[in-house]
Structure formats: structure tokens, C-alpha cells
Point group: C2
Amino acid sequence: MFSKTCEYAIKAMIFVAQKSRGDQRVSIKEIAKGTDAPEHFVAKIMQDLSRKKLVHSVKGPNGGFYMDAHDLNRPLADIVKAIDGDKMFVSCVLGLKNCSEKNPCPVHHEYKEIKKNLIKMMDTNTIGKFNDKLDTGKFFLKNH
Amino acid sequence: MFSKTCEYAIKAMIFVAQKSRGDQRVSIKEIAKGTDAPEHFVAKIMQDLSRKKLVHSVKGPNGGFYMDAHDLNRPLADIVKAIDGDKMFVSCVLGLKNCSEKNPCPVHHEYKEIKKNLIKMMDTNTIGKFNDKLDTGKFFLKNH
DNA sequence: ATAATAAAAGATAAATTTGTCTTTTATTCT
DNA sequence: AGAATAAAAGACAAATTTATCTTTTATTAT
């Protein structure tokens, strides 16, 4: 479904959202620990997301990653697109370049509705929304 | 969604189903051309599927791949599992080992229904069913 | 100013996926 | 029996993804 990189990205972003309330910042070390991800690898990912303005960062002591209101309002879809591209949103399940309604691959119509729901899910769930849910303590970002 | 290998596999299997009526056999060359796949690569894939009894083959002149009634009755799910494993069927979208109803990751409940429909689609659509649809000439296995 | 901190950036490496080429084995036909 | 055919198998190579380590840059606090 998602690449491993994208899984790390989503977990990291939800983690940052959750931990960076007020003007708290979260370090790469904390993110790595909090999401069971390889530290240097998740650092690269956050760097990438930071360049793409999906999250903010400050260097130096007390630095780290954080999110502003705008960041929190981003849908999951934005993270997925930033990391895995828009393949899942636009491409044919069988990888056919010109698969379409009028020129469909064999599974096109079968997959259509599923794809629609998948996209809807990613478009409507914002980072902040996941955040609210995590507050209830009923959701987890790593095995325990 | 699916690996490239799995995309080739699905297209190849549908192609074989379609072309191997009666006691026709389909060669690797035909499969490769008919599905726009690298010949030697799709050969490996068919070998694999053949070992796993999802398709049958005979060597030598007039040899090639074909499907019997049982093969045609297999759901898409079997091909996907044979090539990509059952990850898509059993694993957490975020890759968490012990994500479950009682111990869910943040997207577990949002993804649940989509996953169910995806599995249902793969379980209910058999190779033969796709086959019937291709007969109408309204579906395609490669760009044109 | 200097030392400490933490992200950014760069280089490299391991692992996996994707793809190619060659040889071997089984089967058919003459 | 021998030649031709086509899959099976094996070895190898390129590309991509995943992961690690080191150096640099920006910022803060002393």
C-alpha cells in the first residue's frame, strides 16, 4: 500500500503533531524512539517533509520539529503524495498508462469504488484529526 | 498497491486465460507481447506461478501455458498472495506488528472498511470472470 | 566569543526489486 | 535417433528502496 518510507513519514508526522503542542519541539531522537523508526532514516524523511513545508523545524538547542495550525490541517493525502507521489491517486492498479473509464483495464471498474474511498479517506483525515484521537489514548504509533 | 511483478502476473494470467481456450497453449513470447512485459522477467513470474500450480504448462513444440477449469476459478487474491504475499490481506497499513481492533494504529478504523472491500474484490473476482469480460472486447491488457 | 545542541546535507552501503542473458531439461515431430 | 521447440533453471546486472555514518550549518545559552 504505502512504501516503508511513507509509513515512517505518517507515523512521524502524527507523533510530531501530538508532541509539539504549545511551543514544544520534538527532536529526531524522540521521533525515532516514539515511532520505532531508524533514527537517521527518519531524519532524512523529516528533512524532506520540512523542505516541502509539511512540517516546520528549528535548529540548535531546544530546536526540533513542530507543526502550526496550517500544518495540522493538512490531509494525510499530502504526506502520502510528498513521499510516494500521486501514483495511488491517479494511476491504474495494473500500471496501464492509458487506462480510463472508456479504455479500462480488466479490474478498473472493480477497483474504482475502492480507490474513491481510499482517496476520500486520505483527503478527509487531517493530521490534527488523528491528533485529537490520540488524545483519548486509544491509539498507538508503535508496538508495545 | 501491487508490486510491478504482481501487475505483470495479473495481466499475464488474464492473458493466458483468454488465449488458452480449447487446448490452446500460450508461449512466453506471446504473453510478453500481449501484456507489454519484459519477456524474460515475465517468464520467471510464470515459472513461479506454475510451480505454485496457479497455471499449467507444457514444454516443447506446441507447448506453453494454459489454464484448466480449476485454475480459471481461482480468485485474483490467489495470484496476489502468490506474488506479493498476504501482507495486503493481513497487515496494518502503517506496518505495526500488533495493530488490531483493540490495539489500533491511528488509521486502523479509517482503513478497515476499505481493506474489507479490497479483499472482497480480490476474493470474488476470479480469473475466469475477467475472462468473460474480455470477451466483450471492452477491456485491455496493454496500452494501445 | 565559545561551547553545546540539533537539524541539514552529503556520502556510502545494504537489501530488495526489477530486468537480462545463458544453459539445461522435457517434449514433439520428422 | 535426431532436430526443433519451448519452458525451467541458474547466474548475473541494473535500479530502486531502505538504512547508516560523517560533516556542515544554524541557533541558543553560557
